[in-house]
């Protein structure tokens, strides 16, 4: 790929958000992924979510590993610092970055190869530590950049482009995230922007480890009959448990809902999630029931989407470590160095 600059000219009347940016300010360089790639839709959803949330682009740090999905941070939020790290290791780099400056928003973008195979350990441990982040796996069941090998999320029995059936059990990242204590778990489909954008917005406002599994078909290597990650397959098997309306802490709630069909969840920052129930009795705050429900529906062949689980009482790694409110990277020597008098006392204790 070569660097492609987008023209900077734009229509002067384009709408600005509350912090004065137009949507274009949240874009990156032109994508070099294949035309029709699900990942580009996810990038567009991230752009939309950040613009709508009035986040200043430079207050986001976007981190990724290696693979097609991990290339995408170049294609959104061009005014944010980005870090394309090593394969499967985005979670540790993000954890360290987050420790250094708790004031930024951390967006981790990964793929199923990056997170479910080589990086499974780091995925697991970043979730169980409760790193305050949005962790998006762009899940296509296949290794795209190396041309079509099965990934660990490919369903057993699903077929490769060459017609070979996968004999290994799939790795269920949603199930794992729930077991590992993620406090926000969602699944969506790259082709369903209406579902994905509010989900990303809610995840950004969530304090703690927010995990989103986005089924994102690979048009080059995994969009054929026999694949369970193709556009057609996911459209036919998608069972949404709820539709999410995200209401910003600063906004008034104006929409009326009929009683009984809506669950409201207030997050730490005061933002309200309104979930219009599509599945009867689905309670996204009951982790045990959620796990049971997902296992049942998965056995029935459904791809369950929606905001699957949220813990409104969530906490994050900084809270667990009891770190100071000021970002660690802004502490001065006077706050870090105990000085020579203290050192002399230490010397005295060592004699």
């Amino acid at each position: 790929m070569t660097y492609l600059a987008k023209p900077k000219l734009h229509h002067p009347a384009l709408a600005k958000n509350k912090v004065g940016y137009i949507r274009r300010d949240y874009e990156g360089t032109v994508s070099t992924l294949c035309a029709g790639c699900g990942h580009d839709s996810i990038s567009a959803a991230i752009i939309q979510a950040c613009w709508e949330l009035d986040i200043e682009p430079h207050r986001v740090a976007k981190l990724s590993g290696i693979g097609c999905s991990s290339k995408t941070p170049t294609y959104f939020l061009g005014n944010s610092h980005g870090f394309n790290s090593v394969h499967g290791r985005m979670p540790s780099v993000l954890t360290g970055a987050n420790l250094a400056n708790r004031d930024l928003l951390y967006l981790g973008v990964s793929g199923d190869g990056d997170s479910a195979s080589i990086g499974l350990g780091q995925f697991a441990h970043s979730i169980r530590r409760g790193v305050n982040m949005v962790y998006i796996v762009e899940n296509n069941g296949v290794y795209g950049l190396t041309k079509g090998q099965f990934s660990a999320t490919a369903d057993k029995g699903s077929k490769s482009k060459r017609g070979v059936a996968n004999s290994d059990e799939p790795l269920d990242m949603i199930g794992m995230a729930l077991l590992l204590g993620a406090t926000f778990v969602g699944r969506s489909f790259s082709g369903d922007k209406a579902q994905l954008v509010p989900m990303i917005k809610a995840a950004i406002e969530h304090k703690g480890a927010a995990f989103i599994d986005v089924i994102s078909p690979c048009v080059a290597f995994n969009n054929h009959a026999g694949s369970t990650k193709s556009y057609d397959y996911v459209r036919h098997h998608n069972e949404a448990v709820n539709r999410l309306d995200f209401i910003d802490a600063r906004d008034e709630i104006t929409t009326d809902y009929a009683p009984g069909e809506v669950v409201s969840v207030t997050q730490h920052d005061g933002s309200v999630l309104r979930l219009r129930k599509l599945a009867a009795d689905y309670d996204p705050t009951d982790r045990i029931k959620v796990m049971h429900y997902l296992q049942q529906r998965s056995a029935a062949g459904e791809v369950v989407t929606g905001l699957l689980y949220i813990n409104p009482e969530s906490s994050d790694l900084h809270e667990h470590l009891d770190t100071v409110e000021a970002p660690l990277n802004q502490l001065e020597a006077s706050e870090l160095c105990p000085g020579s008098v203290a050192l002399e006392r230490i010397n005295a204790s060592l004699r």
Partner: protein, 612 residues
């Protein structure tokens, strides 16, 4: 008649214990009491990869002259572990001493006739004094310290004072330790002629020196150097470094107003994650480090290449142990020089610092954090088990309150606002070091993409050969700049003109200094140079060029420093003679002297006139 060893303030006591028997703190009290009498000591733990049951040793060298290297040989063995008697006895010098628990008879067949045997019925004494089985075991150690205090003429008031410091506020514990000490002392006084031939005599050779292990010193150096993020994974012999960093932080880095922490410490899931966390924090502008040992470095290698190529500061403290693979996890070596110098796929070179003792562990860790920020690259502090896990007498720590952290080339919001051109990999002043911005600095300027792939000077992805070359050559310029920043080598000039030179580094230092002294007394004069950093400075070339023969003294099999000297400093390899010690024990002056003396006699050039 057995000729017994007679020595004042110059002998070696070795304690042979069983791991988990509670001997460690008693043995350390013994060593400290001698230091409190103004006599230098250097203790060493020789311990197994085990928690309970296997043999463990604690060797204390008492040296009025202040030689802190391992001497070799033993003058007094405190033989608490029958399982290792046979091999322990072999180490004792002719006419040496054994103190053993005489509650059970010593098998005569195993004893050398030249040894002086001192039997103290430790078990019987403790069984009579205590009813609790754990106390009976633990106080045996204190009872033998008490007996030793009489036998070696150690002022027991110093020991009691140490107890009172250790058990401050715990009166019952203090009293029971003092009682046990007196039980042992009384028994020795009543049953033996005290002191024996070995004796401690009050002196004044300790001065203001402190007594500390290298891991604690490095941990404190990290606190003083401003590290706020530490990520680590448990591995011997480095674990205590991160644990001590945590303890110091809880004492020294708590925000007084809120009680909150000015630090973040993560015990990661493995070494890959610990270096990843440190790199993420370094990228985002916090000072970060990880501590590990050789196998951890192997795991971190991919990430180290990323930090080199993407130019991210990170400090890595490698407490080296015996390799390869799991190797000798509880023994010392200097065998990771090459794996650290070139860690990564592709062409890389990394900055290394070689501390000689805890004082330099403190200094070099704080310096390492500065250098990592200045050079935007990984910096290795290459300590080892011998320095890291043994309590060592050393110069007190010093800190200049006027010292400021060198955060390196950071472009601020104001810089960006003023319109300064920002290219993340742009060398604006010729030292090979580009400017960086912290994430979140400016709404529209200064953001860039960090990656391990090739890019141009403005951090834009590129697969063009010219961009790649430009970047790789700049990284070489940066490494050249590092030469002027790492500590220079230290010259130890011989008192008389010397044909031989010797190069050494790290924990070899105390043994080498003693060896130089012994060699000089034998008429072999050697100029020595202690290497303290990599990349190497020109002083090293000059040193090699000015001696026909230069010994390179190392604690590894493959002469790793010599390889680096030939490869990187381009010194003449035919002048270099390796002295290599790598059985896992710390190198001794005796070993160095023997090796150098042999080489020297083989290379003594006799003038032709006299030869004929």
């Amino acid at each position: 008649m057995i000729k017994r060893i007679e020595a004042v303030n110059d002998f070696v006591v070795k304690f042979a214990n069983i791991n988990g028997s509670g001997s460690a703190s008693a043995n350390e009290i013994f060593a400290r009491s001698i230091m409190r009498m103004g006599v230098p000591v250097s203790p060493r733990n020789i311990f197994p990869s085990n928690i309970q049951g296997l043999p463990t040793w604690y060797e204390v060298r008492v040296s009025e002259s202040g030689w802190l290297g391992r001497r070799g040989g033993v003058d007094l063995l405190v033989a608490m572990n029958p399982a290792t008697w046979a091999s322990d006895f072999e180490e004792i010098e002719l006419g040496g001493y054994i103190l053993y628990d005489s509650s059970k008879p010593l098998p005569k067949a195993k004893l050398r006739e030249d040894l002086n045997v001192i039997g103290v019925p430790l078990t019987e004494i403790c069984n009579a004094a205590y009813t609790d089985s754990r106390q009976r075991q633990l106080f045996k150690n204190i009872v033998y310290v008490g007996a030793l205090s009489a036998l070696l003429d150690i002022d027991s008031a110093e020991i009691e004072k140490l107890f009172s410091e250790q058990f401050k506020g715990k009166e019952a514990l203090l009293q029971s330790n003092v009682n046990a000490l007196r039980l042992g002392r009384d028994y020795a006084v009543q049953n033996f002629e005290c002191p024996i031939g070995l004796r401690v005599q009050r002196s004044n050779n300790v001065g203001d020196q402190i007594f500390v292990d290298g891991n604690s010193a490095a941990a404190l150096g990290a606190v003083y150097g401003g590290a706020s993020v530490c990520a680590w994974y448990p591995i011997t012999p480095s674990s205590s470094l991160a644990e001590t960093f945590s303890r110091y932080c809880y004492k020294l880095r708590i925000d007084a107003a809120t009680g909150k922490h000015r630090f973040a410490i993560i015990q990661a899931e493995d070494e890959l994650a610990s270096i990843g966390i440190a790199i993420g924090a370094g990228w985002n502008g916090a000072r970060a480090f990880t501590s590990t040992s050789g196998p951890g470095i192997s795991l971190m290698t991919e990430f180290i290449g990323l930090a080199y190529f993407a130019e991210i500061p990170v400090t890595i403290i490698n407490v080296q142990r015996g390799g390869p693979s799991t190797g000798m996890p509880t023994r010392t070596q200097q065998s990771d020089l090459l794996s650290c110098a070139y860690a990564s796929n592709g062409d890389t070179k990394h900055v290394m610092l070689f501390p000689e003792d805890p004082t330099e562990c403190f200094d070099f860790t704080a310096l390492g954090l500065d250098l990592a920020d200045r050079l935007q690259t990984p910096v290795f502090v290459m300590t080892d088990l011998d320095i890291g896990m043994n309590t060592r007498m050393c110069k007190p720590f010093q800190w200049d309150d006027a010292r400021e952290y060198d955060r390196g080339k950071i472009m601020t919001r104001a810089d960006l606002e003023s319109g300064r051109d920002f290219g993340r990999y742009l060398d604006v002043d010729g030292d090979g070091i580009p400017y960086r911005t912290y994430p979140g600095t400016h709404p529209t300027r200064g953001a860039y993409f960090t990656r391990g792939t090739t890019r141009d000077r403005y951090a834009r992805y590129s697969e063009a050969g010219a961009d790649y070359l430009d970047n790789m050559q700049r990284l070489l310029r940066k490494f050249e700049t590092a030469k002027s920043l790492v500590p220079k080598p230290l010259l130890y000039p011989a008192e008389k003109p010397a044909r031989f030179g010797a190069i050494f580094y790290g924990s070899t230092s105390p043994a080498m200094e003693e060896a130089l002294d012994v060699l000089a007394s034998r008429g072999i004069h050697v100029n020595a140079l202690r290497v303290r950093g990599f990349p190497f400075q020109d002083e090293i070339n000059d040193f090699v060029a000015s001696h026909p023969w230069v010994f390179v003294v190392e604690q590894n099999r493959d002469a790793q420093l010599k390889t680096l000297l030939v490869n990187e400093a381009k010194v003449n390899p035919t002048r270099l003679l390796s002295v290599l010690h790598y059985d896992g024990t710390p190198i001794t002056a005796r070993f160095i002297v023997d090796q150098i003396a042999q080489h020297a006699s083989a290379r003594t050039v006799v003038p032709l006139k006299r030869a004929s």
